[in-house]
Amino acid sequence: MLNAVLAAFVLAFAAPLVARHMPRQVGTIAALLPAGIFVWLLNQAEMALGPGVVERWPWSPLPGVALTFRLDGLSLLMALIISGVGALILFYAGAYMHGQAQAGRLYALLLAFMASMLGLVLADNLIALFVFWELTSITSFLLIGWHFQEERSRAAALQALIVTGGGGLALLAGFVLIGLVGGTWEIAELSAQAGTLQDSVVYLPILLLLWLGAASKSAQFPFHFWLPGAMVAPTPVSAYLHSATMVKAGVYLLARLSPALGGTSEWSLLFMVTGLVTLLLGGWLSLKQNDMKRMLAYSTVSSLGLLVTLLGLGTKLATEAAALYLLAHALFKGALFMVAGAIDHATGTRDLRRLRGLAGALPTSALAAGLAGLSMAGLPLLAGFAAKEFIYEAALFSGGGVWILTLLLLAGNVAFVVVAQQMTLRIFAGASLSFESFHAPAIPLWLAALVPGALGLALGLLPDVTATLAGAAARAIYGAPVTIHLFVLPGSVTPMLLLSALTIAAGILLYRRRVQLEPWLNWLDQGARLGPEGAFQRLVEGLPHFAARVTALQQNGRLRSYVLWIVGTWLLLLGLTWALRGGPGLPANLLVRLSDLRFHELILVLVILAGLASVMLANTLMTLIVSLGVVGIGTAIVFILFGAPDLAMTQFSIETLGVILFVLVLYRLPGVVRLSPRRTVLRDSILTGLAGAVITLMILIITDLPLVSPLKTWFAGASEPLGHGHNVVNVILVDFRAIDTLGEITVLGIAAIGIFALLKLRPGRKVAEGKDGP
């Protein structure tokens, strides 16, 4: 299975190359791979329908993450759809995209998407599944934005990515929680311990996170709006990603996890409500669309809602219905999209109001659309019929609230019937119109649509095949053996049959009266536009403004404000620490310790403090520099008094040099002006005064503690015998801690380079070769 996924990725990279050299055949060549995978899957079907095929690969980026693949009934069904529709789409795209610039990239992205999607449905490890899940979002993003020079495409791509990406992150959190509770990310193992998961305190959060992920991906309310937007992509993309496969990922996930998490009342409530709302909303919105693709997209939203409802219901019958509908929908919706694309290609428009009587011009497309439309409407002999029968049966045998549920499903299905008529009767029947730029479509454009249309009929006529395939999928969802009994034509009149008939009748009636309905439809459409989609737009547009405002508050360009933040944070943290964790008390014997102060020392202290005051009050540069010098020399004298002659010497010489530099460098600057208002000065004084007090306190506390310095004793003893020097400080500097000194002179060297470059290298000044030597 890995080989299939990898092969598709590899071919994806090769596709642009193939497209460059064989622009005419590239679609067909690319289609060979999914076709091959399709055949291989059929080959594996017997095993898959039985015990399932498991593959483990020794690749584990993190503990607990593994590349495990499992082919069972559900993944087989999905994989067949993915590879089958994939082959047709690539074949179709070969004709659809012919002659367009950078078509190679489209094949590459489609193949990469297919690989990701296959990985998604085959993976049996939640994290591996998630990896593929996100890859489908990314490829979808790139495909939606295919016409990247158009603003509309970019906006739609962004919308799709942020909605599905955000949902994806929620899903990830859910997966991590599942892993923490269940102790594993292997889906098979999780399915075996549903009890642990469902009894956990985080069951509800997990469910909600899962809901966010699945609902955003499968375009459920209130995240449905990205899908119609995604219709700006080329039609092969819409047909493949946004109707047949990717949007089913959320549904697939629910199906996959329903053995582990499903069956609770929370599960049913959450997903049935979501599904039903989406079903009705999507159906309603599909009625008023004039753009074929948008109409199909809303209808897809509605279908996805139906699937979610069924999975939420979770009974045996409901899972059977879901499996059947999944299959039927992929076929008829894929076909209808491709028909829409062919019409667009031939006539240059997708507007339903401008299309009529195409049957004569596009007979083969009409046939494909007819088959698909009949299946969609749920007429007997076609796959869609069986699915609808099961949907109603599941509703009728659901237990509480039967009538409400049945009624809502009926309403949803009526909308499908209307859409089916729009896609067949409305466009193909009647007197034909003439189009200026009409050209007959190439063979792939109708053939690729006819195949799934015909398959819908074939599956309807071969109930055993359909039952086996869907039954195996339903078994994987339901978690217990399931056998579906299907029939070509119903043998007796059942309530389900009556409901089906009612659906179709209502659909026809509604289609005929659609003109009278329009004001109603418009009203609801406005609401939907202002709702979630509007909120999303406001968020996306408002966020940068909000960010700029917040950032401008902090990053305001004023250095003093930055310093204030830092000093404030430091004091705050210290304050919190002392308040909450017990601070050090003031040492008790301060007066005793103060009494050892000698007279000359007192004078020195006063001089330093006076110098300091003078620094702060200075209003000419000279005063400032001289006062700084006083403080510096005062410090040097402290060093002399307390046995540090080396320090004093260094401090003196540095002080002298510093003053010279100060004068040399700064004499051109203006005098020191006072710029801050009184209030700022007061605030700063209090804050810095506090900082100083903290430092004083720290010194007092620490010097009050006993200190045994092993270093002092050792250095004093080792200096002469081992270091051959009498000046311990110097021996430390050049020998014991010589690497510090090495670093120190390196700092000096770099400073020299920096200063030199600052002074000599200036923008706009030409530096003559050889003249810049120091």
Partner: protein, 120 residues
Amino acid sequence: MEVALAIVIGALYAAGLYMMLRRSMVKLIAGLVLLGYASNLLIFVVSRLTRARPPLVPEGAQGIAEPFADPVPQALILTAIVIGFGLQAFALVLVRRAYQAVNNDDLDQVTASDRPDLQQ
């Protein structure tokens, strides 16, 4: 003396930070210099003070008799002073060049490089 010096050091820190909070570039440098003095003195004082007994081994002796000043902080401070000097020299030249570029000593005018663009 420790207590008195502790107060001095506290005052040095306070003054250093205060000067850094001003708008003038020259005062900024003065603040940095003061902070340098302050941290050096702090290291000196918290390592305990010993009056007038430099850590020099007398001729012919193998070690020094207690009490004597701790040589370790002295070595550290020496390194720190020299590094501080290098930084101070760089700072001076930088400020001068910045002054030339902006043509103003007021740090509040030095904001071209980091405010977000609110028109966006």
